[in-house]
């Protein structure tokens, strides 16, 4: 095991090198670009024995990924924002075809206006595609989660693709120390992908991606829901196995000082680092506050959330995305599934800093609510 200082994009690329995918169709877009560059270099330097497919668009990146995964090999791709939007149609196809692709999404705002900075609207817009979505907080978690994603997605009970979501620039372009696991341990944790449900081999012909009429479509989609629900258990098991080999513990959610908290912040991704500091500061002032970091957004870990928030009075959800007329997506999901007093806050869109003041504003407005949903850090003029 080596420790190196690197960005989350490099950490993802390192995870990909260790996971040994055989086909990598990828198309550059800020802030994902360096992932596609690192991987091109790794292939050029024979650090990965893979076909790097220099596709002409993200639509073709994901299409080639489905083709390759359907053919039966491990596949990686990555994108961001507009690129993920261009993939939209095929993301659904990938999940429906049950190909266990792993995709890293460098979270970035969606145009218009054109904006290259971070929020999470891009991956949130794909939340119903049938992909597992895991939001990470730092470079180490980006690396570890990418490795775990393959193991979960390729589990015969799951066979749904995974999206590892990492905040653009905040993570993708910021360096942190990262422990890089050794290949031998990774090989032990993540053996080669052996497809059984779908592959393309002239010795055993099968048809993949077929047409299904009303007699079958509903069951096919329902099966995906069953697999998605089941994935909660598999994610947890995989996290435990990972912890045993590599020593780092993860779960569906990550509670921080929630036990005795009256108010709990709920958020996803790098924002959780800021929130943890804020929780400590507020605690010093005697405020009983906690943080629940959601790692797995799909599957939606209702039980794990309920367990973490059971003692609190109120919940403040901070979303870096927005659904018109509703509020943030995470807020909306919480309102549906969690029986608590919940307030939603929209922040950090298009790279707007989520300042300590903004977080305090959310905290105050949870204590003394005026609206269900509030945009925080909004400029007055």
């Amino acid at each position: 095991m080596v420790k190196e200082v690197m960005t989350s994009n490099k950490a993802v690329a390192e995870a990909v090198r260790l996971a040994k995918p055989q086909v990598i169709p990828v198309y550059p877009i800020t802030p994902q670009t360096t992932i596609s560059e690192y991987l091109a270099q790794y292939v050029a330097d024979e650090k990965i024995d893979a076909k790097y497919v220099k596709v002409e668009s993200e639509h073709s990146a994901i299409s080639a990924a489905v083709g390759a995964s359907g053919a039966g090999v491990r596949v990686f791709t990555a994108t961001s924002s507009q690129g993920l939007m261009l993939m939209h149609e095929i993301l659904y196809a990938a999940a429906g075809m049950r190909v266990p692709i792993v995709l890293a999404d460098a979270n970035r705002a969606i145009s218009a206006p054109l904006n290259i900075w971070n929020d999470q609207q891009d991956s949130i817009a794909q939340r119903d595609a049938g992909w597992l979505q895991i939001y990470v907080e730092n470079a180490q978690e980006a690396l570890d989660t990418t490795l775990m994603a393959y193991k979960v997605s390729e589990n015969p009970d799951i066979l749904l693709p995974s999206m590892v979501c990492l905040d653009g620039f905040i993570l993708t372009h910021t360096v942190e120390p990262v422990e890089i696991p050794d290949q031998e341990s990774v090989d032990k944790f993540l053996p080669p992908y052996v497809p059984e449900h779908a592959f393309l081999d002239p010795n055993e012909p099968m048809s993949i991606g077929n047409f299904a009429d009303p007699n079958y479509y509903t069951e096919a989609r329902h099966d995906m829901d069953v697999a998605m629900t089941k994935s909660m258990e598999v994610i947890q098991k995989t996290c435990d196995e990972f912890a045993e080999i590599f020593g780092r513990k993860y779960g569906l959610v990550e509670p921080y000082k929630t036990e005795d908290a009256d108010i709990i912040f709920v958020a996803m991704g790098s924002l959780c680092s800021t929130l943890r500091v804020m929780v400590d500061q507020l605690r010093e002032k005697g405020e009983k506050v906690g943080l629940l970091k959601i790692r797995a957004y799909r599957p939606f870990p209702t039980e794990a959330i309920n367990e973490a928030v059971k003692n609190c009075e109120k919940i403040a959800v901070i979303d870096k995305n927005f659904s018109f007329g509703i509020g943030g997506a995470l807020y909306a999901d919480m309102k549906v599934k969690i029986d608590k007093e919940i307030y939603g806050f929209i922040a950090g869109l298009g790279g707007r800093d989520i300042t300590p003041e903004a977080i305090l504003e959310a905290y105050e407005k949870t204590k003394a609510p005026e609206n269900d949903v509030t945009w925080i850090g909004l400029k007055e003029e």
Partner: protein, 288 residues
């Protein structure tokens, strides 16, 4: 021509009686043999051959969407080659819509990247699966449901996009046109394409009884008429060498071809004359 014991496209498919698309695919698969993986775009072909839980494909088959069979094939080809399966043929089928319109970018990328694969556009000159809407491959004067004849319209008002030449401009090693009415010529080209290292493209004219409006028994006859009138020219471009592969003894007037199809029935002499001129110019350019 070699006749296999069993076709690699099974009967029982839902193509219309007299469907040219199934002839197109049957002949290609039989020429390529069992050691083949097939990809298809959404369209008549995919829908008629894979209504779950039944498939007509005797070779491994994958479909993902309408506009991406070039890219899907790229992924399949890459996966096979990285596993050392260099001898497996990769053949992608796309309708004219899936090829010359919505799938053009994906196909262009695939061809440019040099994947060792064959792409066959089965061109029935409209979006048949969705009910005969025009495509970029619909010929001048054809009435379709989105380029209908009317008081202010004589049907499609633009000539057919020259897709084989667009493919040739990619500098790929093998490009050919073909017709299901000339199976020996077509099969020879499929085999040549399969032997070619790198990308190959065949643009196959496939008359469609339903979409063109002729009796089902005339599918092949219609393909022959297209070639005999010079409306469809059979050639290949093998490593840059252009060659006409079939020359009709005497070119018949296009009217013989147009007058037998419902989609052209409305055309007056003036338009027929115009189409004749188009065809004459095209034949002259290609040296027919």
């Amino acid at each position: 021509m070699d006749i296999p014991d069993k076709d690699l496209l099974a009967p029982g498919h839902r193509g219309c009686a007299g469907c040219g698309a199934s002839i197109a695919v049957k002949l290609a698969l039989n020429a390529l043999g069992k050691n083949t993986v097939a990809i298809s775009a959404t369209g008549c072909l995919e829908v008629m051959t894979t209504p779950y839980p039944e498939t007509s494909w005797e070779v491994p088959f994958i479909h993902v969407a309408f506009e991406n069979s070039g890219a899907v094939a790229s992924g399949v080809e890459s996966a096979l080659r990285i596993q050392g399966k260099d001898d497996v043929n990769v053949v992608a089928f796309g309708g004219d819509g899936g090829t010359v319109d919505i799938g053009l970018q994906s196909l262009s990328g695939a061809m440019e990247r040099g994947h060792n694969m064959l792409y066959i556009c089965y061109d029935n000159e409209a979006y048949m699966n969705t009910g005969i809407q025009r495509s970029g491959a619909t010929p001048y004067g054809a009435s379709t449901t989105t380029s209908p004849k009317g008081t202010a319209s004589f049907g499609e008002d633009k000539p057919k996009k020259n897709m084989p030449m667009i493919m040739a401009a990619h500098g790929i090693p093998y490009v050919a046109t073909a017709s299901i009415a000339y199976p020996e010529d077509y099969v020879k080209k499929v085999k040549k394409a399969a032997e070619t290292k790198g990308p190959a493209y065949i643009h196959l004219q496939q008359p469609c009884t339903t979409g063109w409006g002729f009796p089902s028994e005339k599918t092949i006859e219609m393909g022959r008429l297209a070639v005999e009138t010079g409306s469809w020219i059979l050639y290949e471009i093998d490593h840059g060498n252009f060659e006409i592969t079939f020359r009709p003894e005497e070119r018949r007037p296009v009217k013989d071809y147009l007058s037998t199809q419902k989609r052209f029935k409305h055309l007056d002499e003036e338009h027929i004359e115009k189409i004749q001129k188009y065809v004459d110019a095209e034949c002259k350019e290609l040296g027919l």
